[in-house]
Amino acid sequence: MSGPSTYEPKTAFTRWLDSRLPIVRLGWDSFVDFPTPRNLNYWYTFGGILTVCLMIQIITGIVLAMHYVPHIDYAFASVERIDRDVNFGWLIRSIHAVGASMFFLAVYMHIFRGLYYGSYKAPREILWILGVVIYLLMMAAAFLGYVLPWGQMSFWGAMVITNLFGALPLIGEPLTQWLWGGFSVGNETLNRFFSLHYLIPFLIAGVVGLHIWALHVPGNNNPTGISVKTKADTLPFHPYYTVKDGFAIVVFLIIFAGFVFYAPDVLGHADNYIEADPMVTPAMIVPEWYLLPFYAILRAVPDKLGGVILMFAAIGVLFILPWLDTSKVRSMRYRPMARWFFAFFVVACLGLGWAGAELPDTKVPVLGALGVDFLLMGRVLTVYYFAYFLVIMPLLGFIEKPTARPASIEEAVLNGDKPAKAGPGAAPAAQPAE
């Protein structure tokens, strides 16, 4: 952890424990005395929110697994039984299903925050990469979990996604059959998906541990992107950020509860209340909302293998982002051009999600008059998605002239958290933020 430990065991027992397993010291240094930049805004509360999401999913999931039956003949009925007969089963399942969506909502906020404030840049590259690994594992867990109720979308979603691997040359077919455990999506597939769905959250918990470890070495980034220089730049994590995170978590839980109690099915698809039927293909197979942008990227390419490669590349590119961004300035607060490209990037991601939810040949409202359908919209936005990382980020570092930044976090705070005016104390624009 950054800096020497300030923990002092006060009782004979804690002194005894500290010299054998300094676990209380670890907790103290990580979550009590941990020096945290004093200017973190509410966009920085999503880390804590995500921890709560993971715990909620694991606890509700363990209870659900006690009642769920991973068999194609009984899975759907067992989910109905959870909703009808298990004590508070309707509540636990609703929390788990809504929880998946809330988890992704929070992780997208967290990722976009990291993109805007340059939290992926040195010395936080490993921290960022571990985050992308968590995101990948989350997508796997969510996909596997969506298959378990064995509704129509479960079955056909599993069919579409597993068939993607069939696009690979030579190994495609044997690989797909190996994933299925048979010659089609069937009971063996459901069984292994249940097993893996139970495994992955614990992998996520493990990588989250590494993620927090990697966070606590350089410490938090902050909205100015300027590194912590003195103690005056920081506040102890507790009570300042425990109370701020706590407030944000409860506000988040209010939204969460709004869905759980008043619209438990609005984020899902009605077809998943129809039991899986391999003989009946739904009129439209769509993934859950949080995977729609990738679905749009997949469909943007006329070639199946090309689509699969591009879809995985959309996540793969995040791994190398720390080295694609050439700007010396972390925070886009001081990057007048990058912030606009970023805003359009967020709009592009939302637009890709929208394109993924529609049939490709449906005309886009308003733009439809110009002949724009969702396939074209998806293609244009896919190009922008990749251009943002592969062209704009590398070039901006050379083209853009950053605005003046405050000399320190403390100064930014004293100036009312606004970009400092050029003048005494302000860093010249060309100087690196570090």
Binding site: R38, N39, F247, V250, A270, A283
Partner: protein
Amino acid sequence: MKTVSRLLAAAAAVMLVAAPAALGAGKYRSPEQHAWSFDGPFGEFDRQAVQRGFQVYQEVCAACHGIKHLSIRHLGQPGGPFEEVEINGQLMRYDNPNDNPVVAAIAAQYTVADIDDIGEPIERPGRPADRFPYPYANEAQGRAANGGAYPPDLSVIVKARHYGANYIRSLLLGYDEEAPEDVDVRPGNYYNPYMPGMLIAMPPQLQEGMIEYADGTEATVEQMANDVTHFLAWAADPHMEARKSMGMMVMIYLFGLAILLYLSYRQVWSRVKH
């Protein structure tokens, strides 16, 4: 970040407005909106309507459509249509729906296949703990009895269709229009503008006065469609009332906690400039 946030909020607003419009597009008709007693955060089921709807289901739908995820006892559970019943002029509640005489009487109307003590297959009168008997032994039998179409199970039908209860109601009432020229209605199919594809294998079922409601309500076609939809809405979401009332308590608690935490936050941060 402020300009960016504003831009994003605007984009989100545009998408929220545009998405339902895009969903509504298509050939078949969006269902008619009906004011249900179970709408909204405080909405509850109308017990009388659910009871009448159950009667419609029993007398009209059950011949072809099962409700395999429901047990007969569910009728008497908290939130169910026979949770409170009148016995000898007195309103009674039963904590255990198996003790509910009205539910027991409904169960006894059914004949259930079972195995006796020496392993012989028998048929016996139903008990509240039994599932509702399914109309078919298997899917092939169901298809053979219905000209090739398999009548779907109705346990969760309201949750399994876009627009839920409004769709079911509109579908049941949507038979009285002539098919337009471009819709080819073949024998065994019926034109129904609310059905995706606009062709349905189910003939019109509800006819004026076809059943005699136990509570004396006039059995118009619309009344029966409303009631049976109300019953199916309960069947799909039997804990809706418990869910909404718990939600209210949770919301009050969370709002209180949020206020306390916000005040604590102000208090703690008042010590430092930020």
